[in-house]
Amino acid sequence: MATITWKMEDGSEITADVKDGLNLMEAATANNVPHIEGECGGCLSCATCHVFVDPEWLAKTGDVDDIEDTMLEMTDVEREDNSRLSCQIIASPELDGLVLRVPEPE
């Protein structure tokens, strides 16, 4: 299990305990995190689960593969160096305490 925090642009936060093996897009929709839609169910086709990973956590959240890297080009809010599609981050004890920033499309 991992305790994950999503920070919204308006300063609000949502924190939830996430079962190992779930991806963080699923965890976000289950916990009502705004702006995370995950329409394609996590198969890297929609880019609607974009998050910014707190830089100190980047190493632990794993590598961005080629498909994810390309799909990050079509997010509503421009990607940054710490952009991820949260469906590709899988909860594990290693990620306990992870903080994600949720971009808000205009």
């Binding site: 929709t29 289950a30 394609c40 169910g41 086709s45 929609c46 080009e73």
Partner: protein
């Protein structure tokens, strides 16, 4: 208390509507009525990971079951609506309950077309693929060595073929038309997927007209073709397209035109009744069309919540689709309806390519096979109304990212 907004049908469009309604903080109470016993769930994985046994049922749910109550949404699953009394703004359920509605959203979806009983359509061992229940009844028979006959070479049939081969079944796929995917894609895309499936051992029979399924003691045991040829089978899967579920809407007197006819705000011919998703038909580029896709259902459901909340919005979303077969990821953007030219953009290997559809000079759609760049940048190219010449696109030296961002 005011009558609630009632949503009939608990699929992707309904989930998206409810999510947006909640996110907007809209004050009207919601009642969600669904025929199945599950909360809204994702259907695409049914013919992929769920059939393969790689995904637990709960992970199909778009929101967890508890979520609805937590958001103050009332749900009634296992409930069929039998009548809409539009003038009274009331629904009647199959157990005779009368429910008032302030406004009504129909998300009744579509059903998988079956074969008539006269030619064996309801024999044991004959399946369709639409719901969790369909898969749960079919999956136990999906074991290595069994012979699966798939009728229909569209997405459902091809995805099921891929799963079946991965599980070790012998698979034969029949397509009535000259080529698989004829209704949905260009010949180049059909050729790609024919090669892919043949390489994985699927026997593909195109221009193959089946006359009836054969029976042995109440169970299907094969199929007879028009030529008289008999193909033995242990399991038959029918994947010959979907039909919009419009019975309720028809009986209520709503305008129907290949689906519940809606305007650009998803409003039907009754001002208090909206429709979204597979069951709704809408006008795009001068044609009335109906789409069976997650994107369409999700975006229309979302739109209706905004419209009901008073936003001045219309449905303009660019359609996109996907399919996963073996290790091939197909991503599609746009609608190829009315194309008069296609051009192929080759990739680094035989497994990578994209097909670009043009109507005149206008780029209207792309099928990208294992080519997320063609999909992602192509989508941006279409969205921004750029119409690169087909020769430019076909040239592998063209940098799509530059083209998209120029």
């Amino acid at each position: 208390m005011n009558a609630p907004i009632v949503v009939v049908g608990a699929g992707q469009a309904a989930a998206s509507f409810v999510s947006r309604h909640v996110a907007l903080g809209s004050p009207e109470p919601l009642l969600l009525i669904g025929e199945e016993s599950h909360p809204p769930y994702q259907r695409p994985p049914l013919s992929k990971k769920y059939l393969l046994g790689d995904l637990e049922r709960e992970r199909l749910f778009i929101r967890p079951l508890e979520w609805y109550a937590e958001q103050g949404v009332t749900t009634r699953f296992d409930t069929r609506v039998s009548e809409i009394r539009a003038t009274e703004r009331q629904l009647v359920t199959d157990v005779g309950d009368v429910v008032d509605y302030d406004r009504l959203l129909l998300c009744t979806g579509s059903s998988a077309r079956g074969l008539p009983a006269e030619i064996g359509g309801d024999l044991a061992g004959v399946f369709r693929l639409r719901s969790i229940a369909d898969i749960d009844s079919m999956a136990p028979g999906f074991t290595a060595g069994r012979r699966l006959l798939i009728v229909g070479g569209g997405y459902i049939g091809l995805e099921a073929a891929a799963v079946a081969r991965q599980l070790g079944l012998e698979v034969t796929l029949l397509e009535m038309a000259e080529r698989i995917m004829q209704r949905v894609a260009a010949a180049e895309t059909s050729d790609y997927f024919r090669r892919l499936h043949q390489a994985h051992g699927v026997v593909i029979r195109e221009s193959a007209r089946m006359t009836r399924l054969l029976e042995d003691d109440g169970r299907v045991c094969g199929a007879e073709l028009e030529s008289g040829e008999v193909l033995p089978a242990d399991i038959v899967l029918i994947g010959i397209g979907g039909v919009a579920n419009v019975e309720l809407a028809t009986a209520a007197g709503l305008d129907i035109d290949n689906g519940i006819a809606v305007d650009e705000t998803c409003r039907s011919s009754d001002e208090y009744i909206f429709a979204a998703g597979d069951c709704a038909s809408f006008v795009r580029d001068g044609r009335r069309i109906r789409l069976e896709s997650v994107q369409n259902a999700a975006d229309q459901g979302d739109l209706v919540a905004r419209v009901m909340a008073g936003e001045d919005v219309t449905y303009q979303a660019l359609p996109w689709f996907w399919s996963d077969q073996y290790d091939c990821k197909l991503q599609i953007v746009g609608l190829n309806l009315g194309h008069d030219r296609t051009v192929v953009r080759p990739g680094d290997s035989d497994a990578v390519m994209s097909v670009w559809y043009y109507a005149g000079d206008r780029l209207i759609a792309i099928d990208a096979m294992n080519d997320p760049k063609a999909y992602a940048f192509g989508r941006r190219i279409i969205e921004t109304g750029k119409n690169p010449a087909p020769e430019v696109v076909a040239d592998p030296a063209t940098d799509l990212k530059l083209l998209a961002k120029s």
